[in-house]
C-alpha cells in the first residue's frame, strides 16, 4: 500500500503533466494504470482526501462551477523547482536559517581567488 506522501506525489505528477484539469475519478483511473505506485485498490475517496490536503497546502486549485469538481495544479513543476533552488542558493531573504548550504558564506570574489590559487602551477 502506498503512503499518503507517495500518493500526493503521484497526484501532483499527473496534474503537472495534464493540460486540462482532471476530476478525482479521472485521477483514480490514471493512478490505477500499471506501473503507478497506488495500485488498483485505490478508492476515489482516498484520491479526494489527497486532493483536499494538497488544496489546503495551496498546491492544487479546484474548479467548482461544474460537478464533478475538476482539479489543477496552482504552480508548475518548474516554478516549484526554481523556488527550492532559490532557497538552496540563498537568494531568498529571511530564509538563511532554513538550510545549511555547502558553500556557506563564500563570496564570488573568494571563489575567484580560490580558482587562481588552485590552478596555479606549483599547486597542481
Amino acid at each position: 500500500m502506498a503512503t499518503l506522501g507517495d500518493l500526493e506525489r503521484s497526484v501532483m505528477d499527473l496534474l503537472w503533466d495534464s493540460v486540462p484539469p482532471l476530476t478525482a475519478n479521472e485521477l483514480r483511473d490514471k493512478l490505477a494504470e500499471p506501473g503507478d505506485v497506488a495500485g488498483k485498490e485505490l478508492a476515489v475517496t482516498t484520491v479526494l482526501t489527497v486532493l483536499a490536503r494538497l488544496e489546503k497546502k495551496g498546491l492544487v486549485a479546484r474548479e467548482r462551477d461544474i460537478r464533478p469538481h475538476r482539479y489543477t495544479s496552482v504552480t508548475s513543476r518548474e516554478e516549484h523547482t526554481v523556488a527550492l533552488m532559490n532557497e538552496a542558493l540563498g537568494t531568498v531573504l529571511d530564509r538563511e536559517a532554513v538550510l545549511a548550504r555547502f558553500i556557506g558564506g563564500i563570496s564570488a570574489e573568494e571563489a575567484q581567488s580560490l580558482r587562481q590559487l588552485l590552478d596555479s602551477p606549483h599547486n597542481a
Binding site: A97, L99, G105, I106, S120
Partner: protein, 319 residues
C-alpha cells in the same frame, strides 16, 4: 545585592562588546573551531544572564538584602502590604526592564524556532514532490536541476541531505564524498541548534552590533567543523575543488577555468589575498590547537557561565 548587580552589569557590558569583538578576531579559532564554538555559546548564555540579572538585582536592592527576601518584599508590595516601602520609580523601571528583556529574549527564541521549523517543513514537502531518493541512501535526495547545489535540511522527523543533479554530474566521486561528509556532519552535530540562539539573538537585539558579528562567526565555525569531518574522508584539495565547483555554479563566477589566470611564468603568482578564513585553513593546513590550550579555553567558557549563574543563584553572595 548592589555590589552583585554592579558586577553583573560589568560582566554584561564585557560580554556584549569587547569579548565578542576579540573572539571574532582571534586567530586560534581556525585551529580549534570546537573550542571557539563552546566559547561563543557560553558568551551568549552568560551575556543574557548577566544583562537580566544586573537589572533584576539593582531593581530589587532597596527591598531586601538577599534575592529571596527582596522578592518576598516585592510580592508583598504588589499585594498592597502597607509595611513595605516602595523602592522608587527608577528601581521599578529597572525591574520592569529586566522582566521585559527576559520575556523578549525567550519569546524571540521561540518565534525564531517556530518560523524556521515551519519554513523547513514547507521546503521539505515541496522537496518530497520533486526529488528522487538516492538508491544507495534514503536520507539523500536528488533534485532535478543543472546548477550544482548541496545542502541539508535538519528536522526532528528525519533530516535529509539534498544534492542537485548538476552537482552529482560535475563532481568526481571523491569530491561528492567530501560534500556528503560535510553535510552529514552538519546534521549529526546538530549545527542548526548551535545557530538557533544566535539567529534569535540577532532578531531580538538587532541594535547590538555584536549580535550580527557573533552570528557570522558562529556560521563560519559550523562550516569549519563540517569541513573537518569531510577532511577525515578526503584530502583538503578535494574538498576545495568541490567548493570551487559549487561556488562557481551558484554564484555565477566565470565558467572558463583559466580566464583570470596570470600568464605562464608571471612573477608572484596569485596576488589576491583570500579573506575567507574557512578557505585559508583548507589551503594551508594549520596544526590543531594543543590540548592544554583547548582545555583552558573550554574551562574559560565554563567559568563564563558559572560566574553569572553563581551570582544570581547564591543570594547575598557578597553581603
Amino acid at each position: 545585592m548592589l555590589l552583585t548587580s554592579y558586577i553583573l552589569a560589568g560582566l554584561a557590558i564585557l560580554l556584549a562588546w569587547p569579548i565578542p569583538v576579540m573572539l571574532s578576531r582571534a586567530r586560534w579559532s581556525t585551529r580549534s573551531p570546537f573550542a571557539a564554538m563552546i566559547l561563543w555559546q557560553s558568551i551568549a548564555l552568560a551575556g543574557g544572564l548577566s544583562m537580566i540579572g544586573a537589572l533584576l538585582f539593582w531593581g530589587l536592592n532597596p527591598m531586601g538584602n538577599t534575592l529571596i527576601s527582596s522578592l518576598i518584599s516585592g510580592v508583598k508590595l504588589v499585594l498592597g502590604d502597607p509595611n513595605v516601602n516602595s523602592p522608587g520609580t527608577v528601581h521599578i523601571f529597572a525591574l520592569s526592564t529586566a522582566a521585559l528583556l527576559g520575556f523578549h529574549l525567550v519569546l524571540t527564541l521561540i518565534r525564531a524556532a517556530w518560523r524556521i521549523t515551519r519554513q523547513r517543513a514547507k521546503h521539505r514537502h515541496i522537496l518530497s514532490l520533486l526529488s528522487e531518493k538516492s538508491p544507495t541512501d534514503p536520507t539523500t535526495l536528488v533534485l532535478d536541476h543543472e546548477t550544482p547545489v548541496a545542502y541539508c535540511l535538519p528536522s526532528f522527523s528525519g533530516s535529509v541531505t539534498v544534492l542537485s543533479r548538476g552537482l552529482v554530474k560535475q563532481l568526481t566521486e571523491d569530491e561528492l564524498r567530501a560534500v556528503m561528509a560535510h553535510e552529514r556532519a552538519h546534521l549529526d552535530q546538530r549545527h542548526d541548534l548551535l545557530l538557533l540562539a544566535f539567529t534569535s539573538w540577532n532578531d531580538a537585539l538587532p541594535w547590538l552590533p555584536t549580535s550580527k558579528l557573533s552570528l557570522a562567526a558562529v556560521q563560519e565555525l559550523v562550516e569549519m567543523l563540517a569541513d573537518d569531518a569531510a577532511l577525515r574522508e578526503v584530502e583538503p584539495k578535494t574538498l576545495l575543488r568541490a567548493l570551487l565547483t559549487v561556488a562557481t555554479g551558484a554564484l555565477g563566477a566565470p565558467a572558463t577555468p583559466n580566464a583570470a589566470l596570470p600568464p605562464e611564468g608571471a612573477p608572484g603568482g596569485p596576488t589576491e589575498e583570500l579573506s575567507s578564513r574557512r578557505l585559508k585553513r583548507l589551503l594551508t593546513v594549520q596544526p590543531q590547537l594543543g590540548g592544554g590550550l583547548r582545555a583552558t579555553i573550554i574551562a574559560g567558557a565554563l567559568f563564563l557561565i558559572a560566574l553569572p549563574t553563581t551570582l544570581v543563584i547564591v543570594p547575598g553572595f557578597f553581603e
